[in-house]
């Protein structure tokens, strides 16, 4: 116990002596939160619109006006030439080209239906999809409006089935009524933060002693392997929780991300999750010999973990094999729990299943890595 206490003291001293490291560790979550929280959104606020209006009627102008008035589109050019519009898209001056053909109004009056073409620059795939859905809505609403203003009389003999009432669809988003993307991203970023601190720093810390040769020195001292691992992991474990605390404070005070559930539950989950994160770091340290290698191996693992965890894209949109893979991914479960607790205010009963799986994975990974470490060092 005495040895462990001294070792722990040494580790903490080493961590805090490295000012830059500590500063970066504190800064990293703040910068990342600031960046991701602002940058990570697919919402399209102003798509650049070029209109090719061949009809030039009151009805076609009305459509263009509706598009402009909706606030999602910014008219950058109106041109009669389709080639010009195409070139604007090539030059990235236009994100959307609305093409209203000849006889738009006439067709609408005569047959009550007319086509318009919308060409979207799908280079930015996510933005293009969102933009299309905005346009669809504006055009559908305009069509409904036209039904009244054009005074089209119903065709004789046709009657709507079941009355003339219209559906008035109102949408409500639970847990995040303003559809603020930050609320969604922040819990995930906190998980990423804890992962980076836990896994990367563990691997680097141990490999550094290897690289400097001090690990060999420690091996010939009375320090046992268990004491060594404990002395290495306990400070990093606590550091992970400190990073999480800072991240949570930033999230709360700078981004006003709600904390609807229990903070205690978040920290309890993080404590368990950190076992898995540290375990992976320890495992990496057994297979590499330089810090550079440690970094790349860790980076690789963490990247795959994060990409497959549903941090950026929903797990349920993935193919089946990837969904199975996600089930054994501790990051996925931690993100799930964080989002459930922070955003939906879930309590222990709601997250029990995820927590149980996470605990099993964490204990499994941790045991495996400690064993592996002991075997390698022996």
């Amino acid at each position: 116990m005495r040895i462990l206490r001294f070792l722990l003291r040494k580790e903490y001293l080493q961590i805090f002596r490295d000012r830059i490291m500590v500063a970066q560790l504190l800064l990293l979550p703040a910068i990342q939160l600031a960046l991701l929280a602002n940058a990570a959104t697919f919402e399209v606020t102003s798509a650049r619109l070029v209109v090719v209006d061949e009809d030039r009627s009151a009805t076609s102008r009305g459509l263009v006006d509706r598009m402009r008035a909706a606030g999602r589109f910014r008219l950058v050019e109106a041109t009669p030439s389709a080639e010009r519009a195409d070139d604007a898209m090539m030059r990235r001056k236009a994100g959307v080209v609305l093409h209203i053909p000849h006889d738009f109004e006439r067709d609408l009056v005569r047959t009550r239906t007319a086509p318009v073409q919308l060409v979207l620059n799908a280079e930015d795939g996510a933005a293009a999809g969102v933009t299309l859905s905005y346009a669809q809505r504006i055009i559908a609403e305009y069509a409904a409006e036209l039904a009244v203003t054009l005074h089209l009389s119903p065709v004789v003999g046709e009657r709507p089935v079941g009355g003339q009432g219209r559906l008035d669809v109102r949408a409500r988003g639970w847990y995040n009524p303003d559809l603020d993307y930050r609320y969604y991203m922040v819990p995930g970023i906190l998980v990423q933060l804890v992962t980076m601190v836990g896994t990367l720093l563990t691997a680097l810390n141990i490999v550094r002693e290897k690289e400097l040769g001090t690990l060999e020195q420690l091996n010939v001292t009375p320090v046992t392997r268990g004491q060594f691992i404990a002395a290495k992991l306990i400070p990093l474990w606590s550091l992970g929780l400190v990073a999480l605390t800072i991240g949570m404070l930033v999230a709360h005070f700078a981004f006003h991300v709600p904390m609807r559930g229990s903070v205690l539950l978040v920290f309890a989950t993080a404590s368990i999750y950190l076992l898995a994160a540290l375990g992976v770091g320890l495992l990496v340290s057994t297979i590499v010999s330089t810090q550079q290698q440690a970094m790349f191996v860790t980076f690789f693992i963490v990247l795959v973990y994060l990409l497959m965890s549903g941090l950026f894209t929903p797990v349920r949109s993935m193919p089946t094999w990837a969904q199975w893979f996600a089930q054994v991914n501790p990051v996925m479960h931690f993100i799930e729990i964080m989002r459930a607790v922070m955003l939906r205010g879930a309590g222990l009963p709601e997250i029990a299943r995820s927590l149980a799986v996470l605990s099993a994975i964490a204990i499994g990974v941790f045991t495996l890595s400690v064993r592996q470490y002991a075997k390698r060092a022996a």
Binding site: D18, I20, M21, Q24, I31, N38, A39, T41, E43, T45, L63, M90, G95, L108, R112, T113, N121, A122, G125, V130, L132, S133, Q136, I139, A143, L146, A147, P154, P160, G162, G163, Q164, G165, R166, L167, D168, R170, A171, R172, G173, W174, Y175, N176, L179, Y181, L204, V288, Q292, Q293, V297, F300, L303, L307, F312, T313, S317, P319, A322, A340, R344
Partner: protein, 373 residues
């Protein structure tokens, strides 16, 4: 001494190259990681919602609501998981993530419709994921609109504007087409900026850089020697990624491949110079690593438009993205790969990259001069 410099430089480059080639583990990861990423991005990272679990709240079931439900079921995307009489169970369903969207119909739905007023329908989504939430909302809205027009027929004087949409340059919104250009930028940043920063600061940490600095090699030669092997490595990896993307997902390169490779070399030079700068400013490998992560990787991943469109970012952040080299490179790479345009369209972006390369190279060489004093 000066006369022998070229051969000294050659020997130094050779030494650096052997350093890289000797470290098999890192090399394998460096070559392997981009390929895995291409696969992951192409197969697993999708944002479309395919299986939508719908909970219907229908207080007064009748023929009309049944029609509505059948209309929903007929859409392959939707799956009705529950039909309840009240909203009581919704909270629990959302908490357990058993339902994605709830459609709450009013009491006496059919009567209200028949009376001809506006019949309120409430659509509840789990917006803790706002992107999926919005997508799901628009799917359900579309299905409800279908139901309405089907019910009303066209006889009501309803006007339809048929929207024919075309996704230019990427008609099926294939995610691999979108991610591969960004992925090349990310991988090149990783290889060049991060690797250079670490390997230089390692020499610093171990004291071998001092030895190099007092050798006949001039600072710029040291930098070239350090940078050249990584340039070659980055080039190889770019080719590998392009090849893999081509063979597995059929990602096109519609423009000139040579131009694309030349531009990626230019981008690599920018990243390498950044790596050198980071190494010059930091004192340990770990600090260099974190510096490279924060200074190059994070902006490349988040501020380059690779995943998140720049036009969607807040006003104040959009100008900031201009200093991120990857932002320009991605425009170029997408232009060449998806649009098939040449320098005539991309000269400005190329010029910006070239300017950055020049500026950073000078700064990087300077930062090494300073150490000599």
């Amino acid at each position: 001494m000066r006369a022998r410099a070229p051969s000294a430089l050659r020997a130094f480059v050779w030494k650096e190259l052997r350093h890289i080639l000797r470290d098999r583990q890192t090399l394998v990861i460096l070559l392997f990681m981009p390929l895995v990423q291409v696969l992951l991005f192409g197969y697993a990272l999708r944002t479309d919602v395919r299986d939508l679990r719908v909970a219907v709240v229908d207080p007064t079931p009748d023929a009309m609501t049944l029609r509505l439900r059948n209309r929903l079921e007929a859409t392959p995307r939707f799956r009705i998981v529950s039909v309840a009489a009240s909203t009581g169970a919704l909270e629990d369903q959302f908490q357990r993530r058993a339902a994605d969207v709830a459609i709450v119909l009013p009491t006496s739905f059919a009567d209200e419709l028949a009376r001809g007023g506006r019949t309120p329908v409430l659509l509840v989504t789990d917006a803790s994921d706002p992107n999926s939430g919005t997508t799901m909302q628009s799917y359900v809205r579309a299905a409800l609109a279908d139901f309405e027009s089907e019910r009303a027929g066209l006889g009501l004087g309803a006007v339809r504007i048929r929207l024919e949409s075309r996704m230019r340059f990427n008609p099926t919104l294939e995610s691999s087409n979108l991610f591969v250009p960004g992925l090349i930028a990310l991988v090149l940043t990783l290889v060049s900026a991060l690797m250079t920063a670490i390997s230089l600061s390692r020499e610093k940490e171990q004291g071998t850089l001092e030895v190099l600095l007092v050798s006949p090699l001039r600072p710029w030669q040291i930098i070239i020697g350090k940078v050249l092997p990584y340039l070659a490595l980055g080039f190889t990896i770019t080719c590998l990624v392009l090849l893999a993307a081509r063979m597995v997902f059929g990602v096109p390169v519609r423009g000139s491949v040579i131009l694309l490779l030349a531009e990626s070399v230019l981008f690599t030079i920018v990243s390498l110079s950044l790596g050198v700068l980071v190494a010059a400013r930091t004192s340990s490998q770990r600090a260099a690593m974190l510096g490279a992560l924060v200074g190059t990787m994070m902006p490349t991943a988040l501020l380059s438009g690779m995943i998140f469109p720049i036009t969607s970012m807040p006003r104040w952040l959009q100008p900031v993205t201009n200093v991120v080299p990857a932002r320009w490179f991605i425009v170029i790479a997408r232009g060449i790969m998806l649009k098939g345009v040449g320098l005539g369209y991309l000269w400005f972006e190329t010029l910006v990259l070239a300017g950055m390369a020049l500026l950073l190279l000078v700064a990087a060489t300077r930062s090494f001069h300073a150490r000599l004093d």
